[in-house]
């Protein structure tokens, strides 16, 4: 049994076309508030290049290929890990009013904040 498949020219173009359309549609709904995390998030996604780097390195048969393959995995891993760390940090900060803010210095603010959102207490005394 052989499950190996080959992606030829036109099949590749179909994959590219559909993937491009998917990317366009997914991003089209993003509010401006998330532009920076999203750029960072899509930056993380192309960190998948590290998989290609591992493939190239495992198949390396000369010192030159090993060195370049090593660099490919090194850079790809940096792309993926860094992209994830930065995106995760940014997105963890987005909190609605109900929850206490993530920042330690503001933890005590939660009570006062929730108390003053609705009522209009003692204004202009």
């Amino acid at each position: 049994m052989d499950f190996h498949i080959t992606i030829g020219g036109f099949v590749a173009l179909y994959i590219f076309m559909l993937a491009a359309f998917a990317g366009w549609v997914i991003i089209g709904h993003v509010p401006a508030i998330l532009h920076t995390p999203l750029m960072s998030g899509s930056n993380f996604v192309h960190g998948i290049v590290v998989v290609g780097g591992i493939y190239a390195l495992l198949n390396a048969s000369t010192v030159q290929e090993q060195v370049i393959g090593f660099v490919a995995v090194l850079l790809g891993a940096g792309n993926a890990a860094g992209g994830y760390a930065v995106t995760d940090r940014m997105l963890a900060m987005f909190k609605p009013s109900g929850k206490a803010a993530g920042h330690a210095a503001h933890a005590k603010a939660g009570v006062r904040k929730s108390a003053n959102v609705k009522s209009l207490p003692r204004k202009k005394r």
Partner: protein, 487 residues
């Protein structure tokens, strides 16, 4: 189970893992498109990445015969490279200040481009890319990846302040065009020489080196003349470039996960670039091919009115007695690290029953959406932050607009003055509020280098000083009133 099925298990495993990864990436990006689900989105995408990376070691069962003796060494090298590259980048990503985020994204993006270029180099040097189509796709991917690497590094250096001034010289576009032509010619030579198996002028490895050198130089030359204000658009372009390069190398390696993820990012990055350029009222070609500021030698009409300075404390107290306040934060706030103090002041106002909203311009900060992140870091809930189109009509009915560290994004000249370089840029209508307070370090001009007529308006007062120091004084003044808080 017969032996051929057993032998095909690794490639089935890789196929299934890559399929799962592609699905998880798209679902993760989809979740990232709303603030409520965004933080789980990156986690979903992260699982996809982990699955794909772990499964990629199954390639070890299927390596070509030439590499078989080195397999254990190669696997060791791969593990070391993963741990080293991933570890250092993880640590830097966890520790970097939020204000330094744009240059970190540029740096990680450059790494991805470099990885795509390096994969192409392995394929080219090892003679693994066979056939004209594969060769051309490999070279195009290599070109885009290398341009993205060197260009992103320059973008990083500019945003980090290593390179301070844009470098411009005469006939720059002609030089860039020539370098591109030379790169393409060398690429064509590599294709022909590899196909004919006969190198006339240069050996094939030498021409591959020359090709990469030209591509790297092209990336540097393209990015050097672009000013700091336009850098976000440039990073976004390179982000799309890297995605494209990854997709193309994915085709060469016959890996659909790379193809799909790369092309999704390529398209998403392109759309994001267009959105950003639109928000900045610049066309993408304008950013890349012309020099911002060079064309803005425009004479401004005489401005009526004068600048009216005000003490921070007085402005703070005036806001405490207002019933509604809209705050327009800009990058000056982030420079003075005043976001935390600002939110403290806002909570003080809210405790007194003042309705407070934040109005964030799409390009506030140095990267679209960066101001939202910086406010979120200070603990501001995202439902208090409003985007331009949602809040612009509210200024008319608002008592006070507090402009803090922002300038060009509230300049009414963008609405009225046809000759102004920022004419047509969507702005926040802070000038329509009953009263406007502008917190600013001095009488200087903004990024665009033009005078802001808002500051001279009858309803506008200037509060001079560092944003954080001003906010501290405002907080003290309001506390000094001794009004009871709501809690």
């Amino acid at each position: 189970m017969d032996s051929s099925l057993l032998a095909s298990l690794p490639s089935l495993g890789i196929g299934a893992a890559d399929l799962a990864a592609a699905l998880l990436f798209m679902y993760g990006l989809h979740r990232m498109s709303s603030p409520a689900t965004a933080s789980s989105g990156i986690f979903v995408a992260g699982i996809g990445m982990a699955v794909a990376v772990l499964a990629s070691f199954l390639y070890a069962f299927d390596v070509n015969s030439a590499a078989r003796p080195d397999l254990w060494l190669n696997m060791g090298l791969a593990v070391v490279a993963l741990a080293l590259g991933g570890g250092v980048a993880w640590w830097s990503g966890r520790t970097v200040a939020m204000t330094a985020m744009p240059q970190m994204v540029a740096l990680y993006n450059g790494m991805g481009g470099g990885a795509a270029g390096a994969i192409a180099a392995v394929e080219l040097f090892g003679g693994k890319a066979q056939g004209t189509t594969a060769l051309i796709v490999t070279l195009v991917g290599a070109l885009i990846g290398a341009v993205s690497l060197s260009g992103s590094l320059i973008a990083w250096a500019k945003l980090d302040g290593v390179i301070k001034k844009p470098l411009r010289f005469k006939a720059q576009q002609v030089v860039n065009g020539l370098v591109l032509l030379v790169t393409l010619a060398v690429g064509a030579y590599v294709v022909v020489a590899s196909e004919e198996k006969a190198a006339t002028w240069l050996t094939i490895p030498a021409s591959i080196y020359l090709f990469f050198a030209c591509a790297l130089v092209l990336g540097i030359l393209m990015t050097l003349p672009i000013g700091g204000a336009d850098m976000p658009v440039v990073i976004s372009i390179f982000n799309a470039f890297t995605g494209l390069a990854v997709g193309l190398e994915g085709f060469v390696l016959q890996n659909p996960a790379l193809m799909i993820a790369g092309m999704v990012v390529g398209a998403a990055g392109l759309l994001l670039t267009l959105l950003m350029a639109k928000a900045m009222n610049r066309s993408v070609s304008n950013v890349v091919f012309s020099n911002f500021g060079a064309a803005s030698k425009h004479k401004q009409g005489k401005i009526k009115g004068e600048l009216k300075p005000m003490q921070p404390g007085d402005a703070g107290i005036a806001m405490r007695y207002a019933s509604s306040v809209i705050i327009v934060p800009g990058y000056g706030l982030a420079v003075s690290q005043g976001q935390g103090k600002l939110y403290e002041f806002v909570k003080l106002l809210q405790a007194g029953g003042v309705s407070v909203k934040f109005a964030v311009h799409p390009v506030a900060g140095r990267m679209p959406g960066q101001m939202d992140v910086l406010l979120a870091e200070a603990g501001v809930p995202y439902d208090m932050i409003f985007q331009l189109e949602d809040i612009n009509d509210d200024f008319k009915t608002t008592d006070v607009a507090l402009v803090i560290g922002a300038n060009d994004v509230v300049n009414p000249a963008a609405r009225s003055d046809k000759g102004s370089p920022i004419f047509g840029m969507p702005i926040l209508n802070a000038d329509q509020a009953k009263q406007v307070f502008v917190v600013k370090r001095g009488e200087g001009k903004g990024y665009a280098g033009i005078v802001n007529t808002l500051f001279y308006g009858d309803n506008c007062h200037m509060v001079y000083g560092d944003a954080q120091a001003v906010l501290v004084q405002m907080i003290e003044a309001v506390r000094g009133l001794g009004l009871p808080a709501a809690a």
